[in-house]
Amino acid sequence: MATQLKKQVCTAGGYDYTALETCMNANEQNLVTADKYFDVEIIGNNSGADPTACVIHNYTTDETRYINVYTTGAARHLGIFSTSYYRLSTGASRGIFIYAHHLTIDGLQITTTSADAIRSDDYYHNFVIKNNILKGTSGGGSGLIISQPRGTNYIYNNISYNWTADYARGLSPAGGGGDDSTNIYVYNNTCYNCYVPLDCNSSCLNFVCSNNLALKHTGGTGEGTIYRPDYAESGSNNASSDDKADDSPLTSGLINYATYADYFVDVTATSEDLHLKTDSPFIDAGANLSAVVTVDIDGTARSAPLDIGADEYFAPTNFSRGDYAALPSTEADLENIYTSGEISQVASDNADRVSQSAIAQYAIHQYKTDVGVNISWTFHWNGQSSLAPSTSVVKLQIYDIEGTTWEDLDEDNAAAANTDFDLTATVTSDLDHYKDVNNVVTCRVYQQWHE
């Protein structure tokens, strides 16, 4: 049985390599002979970009001796392009140039100014490209170009946007054609604002294209949002801003959806957030692909019916409050659910607060927060009480899903009445103990009132 070869990359140092390129270069080998699979883990604080293009070549691989490049913890993006997380930012050079088989690229941010983010030519096979954010410009290049692939390849949960130069593609998973043994599955990608958002121009054994968002093409009407959908062997439940999502053989398409601000959290240029907005028509509109696409780009569990695109919509953070004779033992919502206006109030660090009186012993505010795939998380609360914490302590707790118990994180027993005080805690390990299946953690702040 193959054993693991694991190397870690962090641009800030402290790990094995400071660039993906040096990691891939130093470890080129015959993984089959070595009987190893190669995990390349991008980890830690990567607020500095990785500026060097990466060439993945001269590895010998097979189905069980493969290469897996992925981000984890603080290195992994949260579904929005951000300079706070690992990013390959290579200017005029291609981001990743692939000359290898059996390769997974998972959870990277890649941006260029005039070159392809990910490119493979020449008959390489068995790729999994998932959960990546590929951000382009008008300068040239495409998000993903896989040319003449072979084998079985999965492209899903990627966001590719702003590739607007002439002939640029958001995703082109099989340019130049596969062959009669090639299988390509293109699922749940979000392709937005590209010359051609999604290019199906390929002839393969199977080219299945489902649950993809292909919106806002900047090319001509001849190309459209989905170029040559007739080359797909099958597929359904795609959405397009023109009529391409319903071109045969694609079925059950959502067509002519072109009021983008109604679908995404933010479409402002340079600060795009392509998570689905409440009431987006793409929520629960996808085909059931849960055998392959079990989570979304944020790591949030998908549930049937799936949403279309890379994001599975999750209800806004749920805050609640109440007064109780005894502290609740579970994380169930409290009696008063915050309104959206109240959530806005507590989200801002100002004097506008949401109050909870306590007639029956305990006044409690409870906060459920989606922390994504992070393994570290900081909670900060600022408030005040008319009953001085110096008289009755105010505690911050977190709910342990595995242990089904509430754990203390911080407390204040010194502040005076009606005076600001802070409660802060960072969970740096075992955050999984506190996350539910949707990556939500629950915290509460409470104070006991005396008779």
Binding site: K7, V9, C10, A12, G13, G14, Y15, D16, Y17, T18, A19, E21, T22, C23, N25, A26, E28, Q29, N30, P51, T52, A53, V55, H57, N58, S93, F97, Y99, D121, D122, Y123, Y124, S147, G176
Partner: protein, 145 residues
């Protein structure tokens, strides 16, 4: 004000024989011929870069060039490409620029992870590849047993 991370070890494919190479597909052979070699400048970073634990011997040496601007050094990260077919760019050599192999092997023999040169000296030691066969090692001779 630049540091160059230079490949210090031979490539595993340097040990392949002509028979091994003959078995390769056209695409594999192209990648084989483009493989990195001792002396290749793999990445370029600013002075004082916090190199990783494996960005040192036996795999790499760091060449410090205090009077070389990082903006001027970044060109050394380029690959030698054949872009004559825009639809299908071809990588001829993993790196276009390489430090003289003798200097790298001197550092390896001395077990020195980093060396320092002035800009004028290092520029004199960097060769620009053009795709000549001599830029990569030949397949190993078959052994008669």
């Amino acid at each position: 004000m630049a540091e160059l991370l230079v490949r210090a070890k031979a490539h595993w494919m340097d040990d392949l024989t002509q028979k091994d190479v003959d078995k390769m597909s056209v695409e594999e052979k192209q990648s084989y011929e483009a493989r990195s070699q001792i002396g290749d400048i793999v990445v370029v970073r600013p002075d004082g870069w916090p190199w990783g634990k494996c960005e040192c011997l036996p795999d790499f040496i760091v060449v410090k060039v205090p009077d070389l601007a990082i903006e001027d050094a970044q060109k050394y990260e380029e690959s030698l490409m054949d872009n004559s077919n825009e639809e299908k760019p071809k990588m001829i050599r993993f790196r276009k620029n390489a430090l003289a192999k003798t200097d790298v092997l001197l550092a390896v023999d001395a077990k020195t992870d980093s060396v320092q040169f002035t800009k004028s000296v290092v520029i004199g030691k960097i060769a620009v590849k053009t795709g000549l066969a001599s830029e990569v090692s030949s397949p190993k001779a078959e052994e008669i047993k």
